[in-house]
Symmetry: C2
Subunit: 457 residues, 2 copies
C-alpha cells in the first residue's frame, strides 16, 4: 500500500527540484456547476462536502482530520503520520485487514496521506458501497485498537519508510535540513514523517492521547465526490458518522510563528550519489489563510510567470534561450495553514556551472522586481491556473482533494468557488509588489545539492 | 540594574566574535580546600552548596532555579527571562523595591541572569546580612505579586532590552539566526530573551503557571560563598527557605534533541553598521553532562590549543605569523544541559579578505585533525584551564557561579572537584579524535557578518 504520498510530495516541493503538480491546488475553483457543491455540518460537528459528478458510476469517499505534523508536541514528531499506518491495523469491531479486504473485494482502491496540517484517508468504490465505506471509516475514528504489538510493528515500517525515502535520498536529506533552516521557529521546520529518534521514542500513551484528542467528528471534514446526491450522502453520513459522540472542543490552532528573519542562509549537501549538481532559492510566504486579500493569488501568478511550465520566464530564458540549464522553474506550496513556500530551482547543462545558473535565476527575479510582468503574462497565468483546475476537476480524487485540503487548512467552499473573481482582480502591480516583498535575497535560503567531489567554499 | 548579563554572554559566545571568558567555567575545579565545600539538601528538596572563603568579610548569596529558556513551551519564548524582571517587582510581603533598598542600604549589590538552562539571582553583602537576604529571596520564591500592571510595565522593559541588545546589534542579529540554524530541533535554537512577538503575547496565566511550576525549593540550588561556615548557613537556610512547601515533582528535563545533521550551512547578515567583516564556523558538541567520559575535557583542551588566548594556534598563525587577521580564536560554550557549542572566528586585517581568513581557520582545524596536538600543547592547555580556575576562585561571585551553574545543569560538586584528575587523564589522541569527530566541515554552520555593500554570492 502506498501511504504517505503527500508527505513525499511536500518534501519534493521544498527540495525545490521538482515542479509540484499539485501546487496550485489551493487555487483551483469549480470550473462549472458550483451550485451543485453542498456543504453542511452534522450534529456532532462533522463538516461534510458533497461534490456530485455523474460522469461515471464511481464515488470518492475522503475523511480529512484537521491535524498534521505541525500540531505535534515538541519531541513527538512523526505521531500524525504514524496514525496513517495504525489506522489500517484494525478496530475493536473489525480485525486488521477487514476494511481493506472489503474494498478490494468490490474492486475499489484506498490510500492515506499526511501533511503538516492534515491527515486524510480515502477510498474509491462504486456508489453502492459508499455506506459500507462510511461505516468502516466512522468505526476506526473511535474504535482503533492501539495494541503495543501493532505499534511496534508499524514503528518498524515507518522507520524503514524514513530510511528509504529520506535518509537514502540525497535530495530529501537536503530538503529536510533546508526546511529546518527556512523555518526558525514554526513546526513546518520539522519533517512530516518525524525525526528518527523521536519516532523511536513514541509511546502508547502518546499515541492514545493524540487519537483521543484529534480523531473526532468535530475535528474532521468528510468529502464525498462522485455519482451521488447530497441528500443521500447526508442520510448515510448521519447513520454512520452521525452516531459518534462529539470530541473535546479544540482551541484554534496556534503554532509558534516565525520571527522577522534578516539573514541569507545556505544549506549544502554533498554526496557521491549526486551526479548532477542543482540549486534552489527558497522563501516562505503567507498561506491562502494568512495572506492579505488578493496577495496569495498574486503570489500564485508570480510563480506561474516566473517558473511554472515550459512557457515560463525561467524555462524560456535558462533552458531554451541561454541553454545553460537542463531544468529551471519555480514552485509554490499550497494548502498550508500558516505559511506557504515559494522557490526557484535550476540544474546546469553542458559547460555551465551552478554559479551561472544561480546568477541567471536571480537575474530573472530581479527583472520582475524591476519591471513587473506584462498584461499578456498576467492573462496567460490566470488562464493557466483556471485551466489547471478544469483538468483537476476531471479527476474525482483530485477534486475531492482540493475541497478537503482547503477546508482542513482554514478555508471554505467559497474560497474555492470564488477563485475566478479573485484571480481577475489581481493586477500586474500586485504581482510585482509580491515579488518585491517576498523574493528578498537577503532573507532567502538557498539549497545546494552537490556531487561529493565538488567543493563550494 | 544590569539584568541578563548571561543572556548577552551566551549570545556573544554563539556570535563567535568574542572569546567567552567564562567558557571554561564548567571545568574549573577547586584550586584547594576542596573538603571545605559542603553540599546538603533541605527537607523540602532545596539543594545547598556552601563555599567558605574567609579572605574578606563578604558573602555571596545565589539562588539558582533549574529552569531556563529551553524549558519554555513552544510559542512562549522569553518567559524564563521575563521572570528575571518580575522577581524585582515586589511580593505580598514586601512592596516593590524594598528588597533592593535593603541591599543598597547595607552597601551590597545584586543581579540576576537567565540562560537556556537556569535562572539565577544573587546578592553580595556583609555576612551579617545573609539571613536577611535569605528571607527576602525565599519570600519571592513563593509570594511574588504577578499583577497585570507589573507584567505590562516589565514587558515594555524587556522589549526595549531586546531592541537595544539584539535588534540594534548586527552581531546579535546574526548570532540569533545562526543559533536558529545550528539547532534544527532543540530549543537552544530559540533565543533566551525570546522572539519579539512571543514576548508580546505572554499572558498572566502563562507567567503564573510557569512560576508555580518552577519557582519551588525542590527545583532550586542555593549557593553561598564567602565568610561563613556551613553549619551557620544550614541553620539560616532552614529558618528561611526551609519553611517553604515543596513544589510539584518535575520529570527529568527532556528537550527535543537534534537529528543527525548532514548538511553544511551558512548564515549571512549584511548591514551598513558593520565596518569590518568577520566570520565564524560553529558546531554543537555534547555538554559536560551528555559527553562520554573524558570527552568534554578533550573538547575543552582542543578549544584551548586551537584558539583560546594569545598563545593558541589560531592567534599565533593568523594574527602573528601570517598577519592576515585582526583577531582569531575559538570558544567553547560551557554550562549547558544538553549541548555545548564550539566555534572558531576571525576578522581580516589589511589586504586580506574574509575568504583568506576562512581558509586559514580551516587549515588549522585540518592540521589538528591530521597531526593532532603535541605533548607540550596538551600540558599547557591543562595548566591553563586549571590556572583559569584559580583566578576564578579569587572571585567569590564567579566561584559561586561555577558551582551553581554546574549543579543547575545536571552536574555535581564532584564534577568540579574532580577536574584535575579528569584533565590529567586526557590524551593527545583523545583531543585529535574529538577534533575529527566534532569539527566536521560538512556539518558546520558558518556565520558571516558583512558590511552592506559587500556581496558574498
Amino acid at each position: 500500500m502506498n501511504h504517505s504520498f503527500a508527505v513525499v510530495a511536500r518534501r519534493a516541493a521544498l527540495a525545490g527540484f521538482l515542479s509540484l503538480a499539485g501546487a496550485s491546488v489551493a487555487l483551483a475553483a469549480e470550473a462549472g456547476g458550483d451550485s451543485a457543491v453542498s456543504n453542511f455540518t452534522l450534529g456532532n460537528g462533522l463538516d461534510v462536502v458533497v461534490i456530485p459528478d455523474h460522469r461515471a458510476p464511481v464515488v470518492t469517499h475522503m475523511l480529512w482530520y484537521k491535524v498534521g505534523s505541525a500540531d505535534e508536541e515538541p519531541g513527538k514528531s512523526g505521531i500524525a503520520h504514524f496514525f496513517e499506518h495504525l489506522m489500517f491495523k484494525g478496530t475493536s469491531t473489525y480485525p486488521s485487514g477487514e476494511f481493506s479486504q472489503a474494498i478490494a473485494a468490490v474492486g475499489g482502491n484506498e490510500n492515506a496521506f499526511t501533511s503538516y496540517d492534515f491527515t486524510a484517508y480515502y477510498q474509491q468504490v462504486a456508489p453502492d458501497e459508499l455506506g459500507d465505506m462510511m461505516r468502516f471509516e466512522a468505526d476506526r475514528m473511535r474504535n482503533l485498537v492501539l495494541s503495543q504489538e501493532n505499534i511496534e510493528t508499524e514503528r518498524q515500517v515507518v522507520l524503514e519508510e524514513r530510511r528509504q525515502r529520506t535518509d537514502n535520498v540525497p535530495g530529501s536529506i537536503l530538503s529536510e535540513e533546508l526546511n529546518a533552516t527556512l523555518y526558525q521557529n514554526h513546526p513546518y521546520g520539522i519533517p512530516v514523517i518525524g525525526w528518527q529518534r523521536e519516532i523511536e521514542g513514541l509511546t502508547h500513551d502518546d499515541l492514545k492521547a493524540f487519537y483521543d484528542r484529534y480523531y473526532t467528528p468535530n475535528n474532521a471534514v468528510l468529502v464525498v465526490a462522485g455519482d451521488v446526491e447530497a441528500d443521500a450522502v447526508r442520510k448515510l453520513a448521519e447513520e454512520t458518522y452521525g452516531t459518534l459522540a462529539r470530541g473535546p472542543d479544540l482551541a484554534p490552532r496556534a503554532r509558534p510563528m516565525e520571527p522577522d528573519q534578516k539573514t541569507a542562509r545556505t544549506v549544502t549537501f554533498s554526496d557521491p550519489r549526486v551526479s548532477v549538481p542543482s540549486l534552489s532559492i527558497n522563501w516562505f510566504t503567507p498561506s491562502h489563510r494568512t495572506a492579505d486579500e488578493g496577495e496569495f493569488e498574486a503570489i500564485a501568478i508570480l510563480s506561474q510567470v516566473l517558473g511554472e511550465g515550459l512557457r515560463s520566464r525561467l524555462y524560456q530564458e535558462l533552458v531554451v534561450k541561454q541553454g545553460i540549464a537542463a531544468s529551471a522553474g519555480s514552485y509554490l506550496q499550497g494548502n498550508a495553514y500558516d505559511y506557504s513556500a515559494l522557490g526557484v530551482y535550476g540544474e546546469p547543462r553542458g559547460d555551465a556551472d551552478l554559479a551561472k545558473v544561480e546568477a541567471a535565476l536571480i537575474a530573472e527575479i530581479d527583472r520582475i522586481k524591476a519591471d513587473g510582468i506584462t498584461a499578456k503574462e498576467l492573462e496567460a497565468a490566470r488562464t493557466k491556473i483556471l485551466r489547471d483546475q478544469v483538468f483537476l476537476r476531471d479527476s474525482q480524487v483530485r477534486s475531492a482533494n482540493l475541497f478537503g485540503a482547503t477546508l482542513a487548512t482554514g478555508g471554505s467552499v467559497e474560497d474555492i468557488t470564488g477563485l475566478p473573481e479573485r484571480l481577475a482582480a489581481v493586477t500586474a502591480e500586485q504581482v510585482q509588489a509580491a515579488a518585491r516583498r517576498y523574493l528578498d535575497l537577503s532573507r532567502a535560503v538557498r539549497g545546494y545539492l552537490l556531487p561529493a567531489e565538488e567543493k563550494r567554499s
